[in-house]
Symmetry: C2
Subunit: 705 residues, 2 copies
């Protein structure tokens, strides 16, 4: 939404004569201190403190350019400026109604000491919960077009912290997290999705915990026109160095830029309290405000979909079982149907009926369009056309039917990572959507990227995602991107970009070793630091053999049923799927009531308890209502928790409904055991929660009538 | 146009039991013989004879696939078929009214002797003037998606022939020709356009001449969904081996295919008479007939353009002289005009007036659209948008003005090789064209390709050119592609693809060492074997200092004035530019009359005299008229020629107008000397031509009234 007010509290001292040039230069906000200095060789460095504790030791700054005349040698400080900003703004949707953006900014003007005397600015913003900084390339005759060959930014940690990490794969972030000391980071034996990495390379957001109790998160904000940042870990010194995702030329080039330009923000969130990391708005604050002035078409929502039934081998995306088709040459009407195509008209109507009956806004349909017979892993360019339905999917009839029931259909565009093909067809695809009354699309990027040689997380693809966010916005379309680069807060700028997957979602439980119970206690500290995730919670039929005994033998979601409910609160997203099949929900309508009730947009959020890899308990206040929802989850450990409801309006009586693990419940032995109880509560109440191993509790709290 | 009739004269003997499997297998058409055999290691080979002369010694066939299970090892013959086809078809436009397609076809069915027992067919077509063959991958369960890693096709020449060659650059064919023995092929010291090659690698069409008088041309036909073929020359054995242009992955992969599929045709044109090579329709015959049924919108034409004045430094493509702009952020109206922008409304009107006055159909305008300030060599993706005119180019007004004068404007789309950007904007660009009454576009691909790492001549770009031919056809737009891969006869299939540049055009004379006088005597034997070239002949102001003494010092076109006229006949194209400025033509309106008269579409063509690198004399009959036009050109040698007009209708009286070099004329000393004389002629006349060094003669012959 709009900025409500902006107070520039003060411009810096030292603006005379282009500012101060004596290093070190410092900036501070409450506990967080930043020091900029020049190293012995004249290279710029920075260091971060939290109170008396070192967060980052002096760490190198700089960039190497392809022409050899970059900013990786000595630089001189030719000036500096500071200013303080304190403003508050309202997101279009989110975890809180308004966000304070309060920081001290230090801009350091640097210059090469010898010709071509190129200039580089480093801009630091110091918040009470961390630091963001970026490189800015001012307009100058000596630097117009240039290629970033390597970024030299370091994050030198003072000790062998505990790290929550996934491999630095250039093409996938769909991994379970490893929790090790920095000295033990090694992804050599991790089962790869499509690994292009090195054993000591990890992805951001990287969550760290020091032995002296600091929680540190390293990531980036506003990733635009630049490759994603990965980190090489020095397992001896505990220094992290930047690894940008390279382009397709094989020259090691990373980013093609034109001045004036800037890099994304490099971010360090820090606190001695884990909940502060989850509550941080630092990354959102470092993103640009949206340029959209009319946002009523952007609707946070819950949805069901013809989707999980494919994952559990009850249905297929493809309409027929041939293995070798050509998009342009195939007469789809003449293919022999395989008899279990999920996206058939009758089945979609069933989902529409279900959504309408239980008040969910929309129905996603995957596999509606031709091309799924051999869509993946063939490095085929012409895979989908995004406008031709299978013979058994009646677009117009379904759209009319959905409309008559007050339900929206959600479009699906799997690109198979043939992005050149998608870009050629995007205009026509969005035109088709608008003609058929779709206003939200889930995109997918499974497989190797075309343009061949490019990576999911390289500059070219980063620009594609951003362009797609803009292009969908131009068409008043909401978008949910799967297999994209992990988010960096761009949903502030593009509030129609409701969510991304960009991590290992619930689906992995259906066809791999799955996600361990700790997974969802780490995601908010890592992947979700950048933005909402379409995790697809809400699986009630936890043992998957029930759907297909042969093909799902031993498969299950690593959860209890009520933990699935709690995820709607602990994993924030404005777009939440009720991922299971209607027939699964209809067997547990009492528990399903929580999914019906839980909002996807909030006025306030309180992180009550949190420890990465162990537990998270979050309370949120519904947008525009005096209703609260609590989610509490644990890893494989059973836990007792006491939570004070002191966030409730004093004096007001509420009724809480607790959806808790049942007696003897546990994710592996008895995942579907649950109990639902009602309790009168006030702001003085303390609730006792009992979480089963791999379990969770969900609570709705509404004013008593 | 349409096939007029098709006679399948006979299916082969030996179709019983899946055909003959005893090698060698042979096929023959008149003097040309083809032998297929298996080599000592079981690898397939082929050899070509012309009468008793060996054209190609036994030469290897095969393909290596990326999965290691390709067709580069031993194969067994599991069957073969032959058939003879004799049909005649009419091109939509061209050098002749109808084309005979008469060949003997031999299909050899091959199979790997061990599992996976993949099948491969080699299909040979033997014509009276050469051989075409291609690999075909039948539909089979053991081969669906596959990657061609290398093509193993060889062309083993029996002796150290003379070769007319350019370096095997993956990104440019804009070279002058080297004429050497095969043993001396070496491009190491050739000034590169953007060379990615090896010293002994050359491009096709490769023209060869043997000491015993054979003229041999090696090229390919119907290049679709495959990279261009280049040739590695073994300077000791005179063997040529295939080099396909690689993709961007850096893995050496060449083509991503899906069976059923086939490669382009590999072609060997051969004769003991040089004119036969120029007259060959082998490559057109190997291309697919067009699917277009309504072609009245395809109009061969002559045009002038706001173009040469930029090359001769009288005007600029760019509107202002800033060096660093961003397409999306620039307020074009606020830029300071440089005062010499060529594509301004008044100047374009001048060209429209000129075209209207002298009966030329259209006016090309380059530099009309924003983005030219820093368009080249920056590896910038968002260079042009193809729909925004510069402030001084009044699109609507000019379109109205042109229409009132009966003249068409021709669109220009320079992509700067940012092809991803062009593809995203192609739909909008063509919509803009149709809205503004444009029906022809000249495209350009200057610079390094984006998708980065891809090459102009790789599979991805080959598909782009073909897709663009199709997409323009869908919009009833004619297209002329510059800096594209060299043609392979696809104008049969896409008759709206009127011409390409794809070689070193006349423009090089304006800003480089230029094209030597022999250049245009080689082009028809090389580049034009694949299809028409937009060479931009017709330069009258040959010494370029006249336009800009400072910047054009010593620059000139390496030609006489009347050689420029002769090129309209010797270099066939349905799209011919009168490339010079109106003021140049207005000083020589008597000579300009030939350009006004000469057609661009023909009923018949006779190559009267030809020797590559020395001279070409061609006579053509105007479409639907009893009018003939003759062009005769020479290299730097003065020549006398006698040409018999026995192609004229017997008994008919004609008036010939001869545009000949003037006395003492020569390309370097006195290029503008010319004489025009009229002469009564009949079919019994023999004309004596006197060509100056670097000169030429043009003749129009019309029935006497």
């Amino acid at each position: 939404m709009k900025k409500t007010f902006l107070i520039v509290l003060g411009l810096a001292a030292g603006l005379r004569g282009y500012g101060q040039t004596t290093v070190p230069l410092t900036a501070r906000m409450e506990q967080v201190g930043l020091t900029f200095a020049l190293g012995p060789g004249g290279q710029p460095t920075y260091a971060v403190q939290y109170g008396a504790q070192a967060v980052l030791k002096p760490s190198r700054l700089g960039l190497a350019l392809a022409d050899g005349q970059g900013f990786d040698g000595p630089l001189e400080v030719v000036g500096s400026e500071t200013k303080e900003v304190d403003e508050t703004w309202r997101p279009v949707w989110g975890e809180v109604r308004s966000i304070r953006n309060h920081y001290q900014q230090l801009t350091v003007h640097l210059r090469q000491p010898a010709p071509p005397r190129r200039q580089l600015d480093v801009v630091f913003r110091v918040f009470a919960d961390g630091v963001g900084f970026r490189y800015e390339f001012p307009a100058q005759s000596a630097l117009q077009y240039f290629t970033v060959q390597d970024e030299k930014t370091e994050f030198n940690l003072p000790a062998n912290h505990k790290a929550f990490w996934i491999p630095g794969d250039y093409d996938s972030n769909e991994y379970t997290y490893s929790t090790t000391r920095l000295s033990e980071v090694n992804s050599a034996n991790i089962e790869a999705i499509q690994l292009k990495s090195a054993p000591q390379r990890v992805q951001t957001p990287l969550m760290l915990k020091s032995d002296d109790g600091l929680y540190i998160n390293i990531h980036e904000a506003a990733l635009v026109n630049y490759p994603a940042l990965m980190l090489n870990v020095d397992t001896k010194t505990f220094g992290l160095s930047s690894q940008l995702v390279p382009d397709a030329t094989g020259t090691g080039a990373k980013a093609y830029l034109q001045a004036p330009e800037h890099t994304p923000w490099r971010t360090i969130i820090v606190s001695n309290k884990a909940p502060d990391v989850l509550a941080s708005k630092l990354i959102l604050n470092l993103n640009e405000p949206t340029k959209l002035t009319e946002t009523s078409w952007i609707q946070p929502q819950k949805f069901v979909g013809v989707w999980w039934e494919m994952h559990v081998n009850k249905a297929s995306w493809n309409y027929s079982d041939v293995s070798n088709i050509k998009l342009a040459d195939t007469d789809w009407g003449k293919l022999t149907p395989n008899g279990h195509h999920g996206a058939n008209t009758a089945n979609v109507k069933r989902y529409i009926d279900f959504a309408a009956k239980y008040g969910l806004q929309s129905v996603l349909v995957e596999g509606w369009n031709v091309g799924w017979e051999d869509w993946a892993n063939n490095w085929k360019e012409e895979v989908f056309d995004f406008v031709t339905p299978y013979p058994d999917f009646a677009v117009a009839e379904l759209q009319q039917y959905a409309q008559s029931k007050g339900v929206k259909l959600m479009m699906h565009h799997e690109t198979s990572s043939s992005v050149t093909n998608y870009e050629r067809r995007q205009d026509a695809a969005y035109r088709f959507m608008k003609e058929h009354n779709y206003d939200a699309v889930k995109t997918g990027y499974v497989g190797r990227i075309i343009p061949r040689g490019e990576h999911h997380d390289g500059q070219w693809m980063v620009n594609h995602y951003v362009r797609t966010a803009q292009k969908t916005a131009d068409n008043h379309i909401m978008v949910d991107m799967h297999e994209s680069v992990r988010p960096t807060g761009l949903h502030r700028t593009y509030p129609n970009w409701l969510a991304s997957e960009a991590a290992r979602g619930n689906e992995f439980n259906a066809w791999s070793s799955g996600n361990p119970p700790e997974h969802e206690t780490i995601l908010p500290f890592t992947r979700l630091i950048g933005g909402p995730m379409d995790y697809t919670p809400g699986i009630f039929q936890i043992k998957l053999e029930g759907w297909n005994p042969q093909r799902n033998q031993g498969k299950q979601v690593h959860t209890t049923l009520t933990k699935q409910l709690a995820l709607y609160v602990t994993l924030y997203s404005p777009l939440q799927m009720a991922a299971d099949l209607p027939e699964a929900y209809e067997q547990h309508l009492d528990a399903f009531q929580f999914i019906r009730d839980v909002p996807v947009d909030w006025d306030d959020t309180r992180i009550l308890l949190a420890e990465p890899g162990e537990y998270i308990t979050t309370a949120r206040k519904a947008k525009g209502k005096d209703e609260w929802y609590v989610g509490s989850i644990t890893d494989e450990q059973a836990r007792q928790q006491q939570i004070k409801l002191d966030f409730l309006t004093p004096g007001q009586q509420y009724e809480a409904i607790l959806y808790a693990d049942g007696k003897g419940g546990s994710w592996d032995k008895n995942p579907q055991a649950y109990q639902i109880r009602r309790q009168k509560v006030t702001s003085k109440t303390t609730l006792k929660l009992q979480l089963a191993p791999g379990g969770g509790t969900a609570i709705s709290i509404k004013p008593s009538r």
